[in-house]
């Protein structure tokens, strides 16, 4: 190959002398490009199928060439077609006219809804355009245009390319093209006229036919018939009959007296303006023959109602304002704010809070003295009151960002339990959420890492969203958050469980904030149980056993403890001794025998089981069904045990890091085991207390049954007896279990050190909540808001049942769950999700708008209704939809009515404005066409009229080959365009 190309390049250099001028070089470059794209020769394809221009795929290839220093871009536009085997056909088609010329006459793709203008004008499936590369450049002078056209002609001639080649002239916006197509012995010239106004004689079909005929200049008489396709387009802009139903929500109604909790649990939805701006009706006469109809300056047969084809397209408002999208977007914006709550509220919000509350508790304790029983009747309103008071103190009443009614409503919505003076067990709440608990929608929180849709966290997110949008923006958010934190503290201090949170340890599948709240609830639950336990066991004199323990006493005396709590903030755990602060908690636990001394049980510390057996059993939960103690056969009791500490994901991470840091050595492993042995030890102590005189074997049989191995043995008397022993691993000398067992003292759970320091944990959570900035808060809650928005969109979609939207929602869910699964997702990805949700919202709003306009709901006949619904959904998804039955079909009649009523409105308003702008008058009279159309017509004057005239005649001489001739014309208010393709025989003229 290399040897072959060498001499060729030499030859090329020689021929280079002929391409000396810029023009010649330009032509050769055009040829090169045509060669590169393999556009040489006859590229015949199958006849065009109906609608293929819309349903098929269009592609384009581009290249850049220059004429001297003027840059042009060359673009090949083509419809992707299944490749036909050209080989066999080539010879057969030797004499056949080029594909493009045949396409000129093809009627299957007239007026395609979406296509390149040249496709619409000439019905081409393939063409090349040479246009100035820079958008502002233009070829203006006639000589330059001619030069370009000549270049095209020469290039086509030289290469034998049969694809039409166009050059764009004049300013780009005018879309002026001239071009040429060459075949064996035939040529088509593409010419164009573009004017601002329609010359009077050409405003109708007969005038256009006249130009067409004169342009062809056919020598034959009579002229072969001209086939005609016509399309009139009517635009409907006034939908006065159907006002856009969506009103922006009435904010005043919320602020005013009738605030219902309802509004705060729900997200708004829909577009604020009509998302469908225009309806375009295209009435088409696809196949007329000259002489069948009359359309001249005095009379027209072209009545749109009678048109055999109607098709409709809708113009959608660009980025209609959508409520849900705005809501979420605004909330997302908070994430970027840097201010802390204090800065926003203009004071130190939490600094004084301790004293304040201490004051209250003082006051209350005065009321309730002498019994230190927690007060149960305190409710949200009290808290609101105190918070209000504080704000007033610091900043004056008028500055409070949230008005009292709004705040009260929200707090009642968030904490419905405070409204009814029922026992606060946190399980019942007035949910208007009817999602079945196991449904896919309900479990969405699992994917989004948000919170269940009936949870407090979720509701809080919705409220903050609402506040941010309608009630005070960022300030309102900061204010509500502050109130929320106060309420949390109130609940902790007064042993009120937080309603709206699932019981049990923090759900790690939810967002961290939700976990924190659950954690706080765990703390409250423990504290409450303990306090109640103390009360009931008071007769037991248990408390008297610890006369000196100030911490416990403080815990018992509710209000006093509150005071302490507030003064010491996070330090309050200290009053419980700092055992749990230490990593070596189990050591302290073991060495702390003071309590036991008071109990008079210290004698049993080192004592054997026999001595222990004399002790009174304590802390029994229930009797084990089968097991009995090994040494005395007494029933084995399951003890009351301490629950292990609940963990939020950040705590868990911390702990696992600590554990991991110990390394993988045996020592590390041993240390790790020790660190985690607190629970084991506690259980052993509880067990010992419940089963005085028990052995490790007893414990193991309950706790880890497989570590007690029983075998049937035949004793001396020949009886089969069960003989059991500890497993080998339990017998390893001084293993963790034995060690713990030996150090464990018989102490019931309630008198043990707490495994979980609820006081400390609660304070940690409260502190964490207090230091969250609005931005942090928004980040915490964004998954909940997205979750809610997706549910909302889903709910709205289910009312409309739009399959394409269903698909998009599914995509949004899977995309979101991927993004939200990782902590700190990128802002860009979050924005994308919000954008998708907004788009879906707009889609649904459009569907609604169309349904309202076409009155699908009002339709009584089932069959018609279905057709209409199908029609409406097609309008949403397809660029142009055919109206079945045209003007006489069901949809057609509705469209007709829409136009009629729009016309009546314009008529009446015209009469009313009889004195109004003379320009209008002028325009009306100005056009004979319009005057004619306007005479109490059901339709407005067409916004556009398109005509395609086609025929096959010999040109230029009667004995030339009969070739396709075509002229497309479009008439609108702004322009008049004729696009003609006239073919002539180049051999016989």
């Amino acid at each position: 190959m290399a040897a072959d190309t060498e001499p060729e390049s030499e030859v090329f250099e020689i021929t280079d002398f002929t391409t000396a001028s810029e023009w010649e070089r330009f032509i050769s470059k055009v040829e090169e490009v045509l060669n590169d794209w393999k556009l040489i020769g006859n590229s015949s394809g199958k006849p065009l199928e109906k609608g293929i221009f819309t349903s098929g795929t269009w592609e384009e290839k581009s290249d850049e060439i220059s004429f001297a220093d003027f840059k042009f871009s060359v673009t090949h536009h083509y419809l992707v077609q299944e490749s036909t085997d050209k080989e066999g056909k080539d010879e057969l088609l030797e004499d056949v006219i080029p594909q493009s010329m045949q396409d000129l006459l093809c009627m299957n793709n007239d007026f395609p809804p979406r296509a390149h203008c040249l496709v619409r004008w000439y019905g081409l499936r393939e063409f090349v355009v040479i246009a100035p590369a820079a958008h502002s450049d233009a070829v203006l002078s006639e000589s330059k245009c001619n030069l370009l056209l000549s270049s095209v002609s020469i290039a086509l001639g030289n290469t034998g390319c049969q694809v039409p080649l166009f050059v764009q002239i004049h300013q780009k916006w005018r879309r002026m093209y001239v071009g040429e197509c060459q075949g064996p012995g035939v040529r088509t010239d593409f010419e164009m006229v573009h004017l601002r106004k329609v010359p009077n004689q050409y405003t109708h079909l007969s005038g256009l036919l006249d130009i067409f005929k004169s342009k062809i200049g056919c020598p034959l008489t009579p002229l072969p018939p001209v086939s005609i396709a016509i399309r009139f387009t009517y635009v409907l802009q006034d939908w006065q009959q159907y006002f856009w139903p969506q009103q922006p929500p009435d904010i005043d109604a919320l602020v005013g007296g009738e605030v219902g909790g309802l509004e705060f649990g729900k997200l708004p939805f829909g577009a604020c303006e009509d998302p469908i701006s225009e309806l375009h009706l295209a009435t088409t006469w696809p196949h007329l023959t000259e002489g069948i109809i009359v359309d001249n300056d005095v009379y027209s047969d072209l009545d749109p109602i009678q048109a055999p084809h109607w098709s409709v397209r809708v113009r959608k408002a660009e980025n209609p304002q959508c409520l849900l999208g705005d809501f979420v977007t605004e909330f997302f914006k908070i994430c970027r704010r840097k201010e802390s709550t204090d800065e926003i509220l203009g004071r130190s919000a939490f600094e004084e809070e301790g004293k304040e509350i201490a004051d209250i508790s003082h006051a209350l304790s005065k009321l309730t003295e002498p019994t230190p029983v927690p007060i149960h009747k305190l409710s949200v309103s009290n808290m609101v009151h105190t918070a209000k008071k504080k704000i007033r103190k610091h900043r004056g009443v008028e500055e409070s960002p949230l008005n009292n009614d709004v705040l009260n409503t929200i707090l009642l919505f968030l904490f419905p339990d405070a409204a009814f003076e029922k026992t606060l067990d946190g399980t019942t709440s007035t949910d208007n959420n009817n999602l079945p608990l196991e449904s896919e929608d309900y479990n969405l929180y699992n994917q989004f890492k948000s919170a269940p849709s009936d949870s407090l966290t979720y509701k809080l997110a919705l409220c903050l969203c609402m506040i941010n949008f309608y009630h005070g923006g960022l300030k309102g958010v900061a204010h509500l958050w502050q109130e929320f934190v106060l309420e949390m503290r109130f609940r902790w201090e007064n042993n009120f469980l937080i309603a709206g949170l699932a019981n049990g340890p923090p759900d790690l599948r939810c967002c961290l904030l939700h976990q924190k709240l659950q954690m706080l609830n765990c703390c409250i639950e423990r504290k409450k149980a303990r306090d109640e336990g103390k009360k009931t066991s008071a007769s037991d004199n248990v408390t008297n056993l610890y006369p000196g323990d100030a911490g416990k006493a403080g815990d018992q005396l509710g209000p006093d403890n509150l005071k302490e709590t507030d003064k010491e903030k996070g330090e309050v755990g200290k009053s419980w001794d700092s055992w749990s602060d230490s990593e070596e908690e189990f050591f302290e636990c073991l060495s702390d025998t003071e309590e036991l001394k008071g109990n008079g049980q210290d004698s049993g510390k080192k004592g054997g089981p026999k001595e222990m057996a004399n002790l009174r059993p304590e802390g029994r939960l229930y009797q084990h069904g089968k097991l009995t103690l090994l040494h005395n056969g007494e029933p084995l009791y399951i003890p009351v045990t301490q629950e292990p500490a609940p963990m939020t994901e950040d705590l868990l991470e911390e702990q696992s890091e600590v554990l991991a840091k110990l390394g993988t050595s045996a020592e590390g492993a041993h240390l790790r085991a020790r660190m985690q042995s607190a629970c084991l030890l506690s259980d052993m102590e509880s067990f010992k207390a419940a089963n005085p005189g028990c052995f490790l074997e007893d414990f193991v049989r309950w706790y880890s049954p497989r570590d007690y191995i029983e075998e049937e043995v035949i004793d001396e008397k020949g009886n089969v007896v069960l003989k059991g022993e500890l497993s080998a691993r339990m017998k390893i000398p001084s293993n963790m279990w034995v060690e713990a067992w030996e150090t464990a003292k018989p102490i019931p759970a309630r008198r043990q050190r707490r495994l979980f320091d609820d006081t400390r944990e609660a304070e940690k959570v409260l502190h964490y909540l207090a230091i969250q900035k609005p931005a942090d808060l928004a980040r915490h809650l964004l998954p909940c808001v997205i979750h809610a928005a997706v549910l909302k969109v889903k709910e709205e979609e289910s009312l409309e049942d739009i399959s394409s939207v269903k698909k998009i929602i599914k995509q949004i869910i899977s995309h979101s769950s991927k993004v939200l699964h990782f902590p700190n997702p990128e802002d860009k990805k979050l924005e994308e999700i919000i954008h998708q949700i907004t788009n879906v919202e707009a889609l649904i709003a459009r569907a609604r708008s169309l349904k309202a306009k076409f009155g699908t709901e009002k339709c009584e006949q089932e069959e018609e209704k279905e057709d209409l619904e199908r029609f409406v959904s097609c309008l949403l998804e397809q660029p142009e939809v055919l109206v079945t039955g045209a003007g006489r079909g069901h949809a057609g009649r509705i469209i007709h009515k829409l136009f009629v009523s729009a016309q009546r409105l314009t008529e009446s308003s015209d009469e009313a404005a009889a004195m109004a702008p003379p320009e209008e008058e002028f325009k009306r009279i100005g056009s004979a066409e319009e005057r004619r159309q306007n005479s109490v017509s059901d339709f407005p004057p067409p916004a556009g009229r398109e005509f395609i005239l086609r025929t096959t005649v010999p040109r230029p001489a009667p004995y030339s080959k009969a070739l396709p001739q075509r002229m497309y014309s479009v008439l609108t208010k702004e322009e008049f365009r004729l696009a003609g393709a006239f073919s002539s025989d180049t051999s016989f003229f």
Binding site: F111, P113, H116, C117, V119, R120, R231, F232, T233, A282, R315, K316, A317, E318, N319, P505, L508, R509, P644, E649, L652, E653, S656, L659, A660, T664, A673, M675, Q676, S677, L680, D683, P705, R706, D707, S727, A728, R729, M730, M736, W737, I808, Q811, S814, H815, K818, H821, F822, P823, E832, H835, Q836, N839, L843, P879, A943, G944, E946, T972, R977
Partner: protein
Amino acid sequence: MASATDSRYGQKESSDQNFDYMFKILIIGNSSVGKTSFLFRYADDSFTPAFVSTVGIDFKVKTIYRNDKRIKLQIWDTAGQERYRTITTAYYRGAMGFILMYDITNEESFNAVQDWSTQIKTYSWDNAQVLLVGNKCDMEDERVVSSERGRQLADHLGFEFFEASAKDNINVKQTFERLVDVICEKMSESLDTADPAVTGAKQGPQLSDQQVPPHQDCAC
């Protein structure tokens, strides 16, 4: 815990550590099915007939090469006793892979597999991978759970299945390596499918593109 979630699939953030990925793997199953032995066999290639019953949770580390990548395995060994369920399940969330183990000589431990699997579904990450392992397959004389039953259950639960012996070092390495491979597959799959999600995102704007007036000389 969440280091797996912090950086996608534990892909390392700093280059000073000598691995490309870190996988967190959890071994779970009833008490005394041989979890600790299994881990020791894999990580240290050692075996002792009796390990102290695990208290809470313990771990070992092993770095392996897979597809030219250094993968650090942080394998967490859990206590099997009922009492430790709450403690150990908290660790599920960060794990990319699970080895669910039963003892082929102990019916009860096999019966509990279904339960453990539910626990995984409840507490773990959506695409955590699970392998079912029947341990102690060296003790053929005492076998009470046939391979067939093990396999059937694994099929039913959608897990891959191995019978192994920590004592005789059968299938131990294979189990871990298979798990790593499955995680890797899932990982690249999810990275692939992440793209359609992104392109799916681009469909959003496309929808609104319809609003743009068609590019042609239509009659509007």
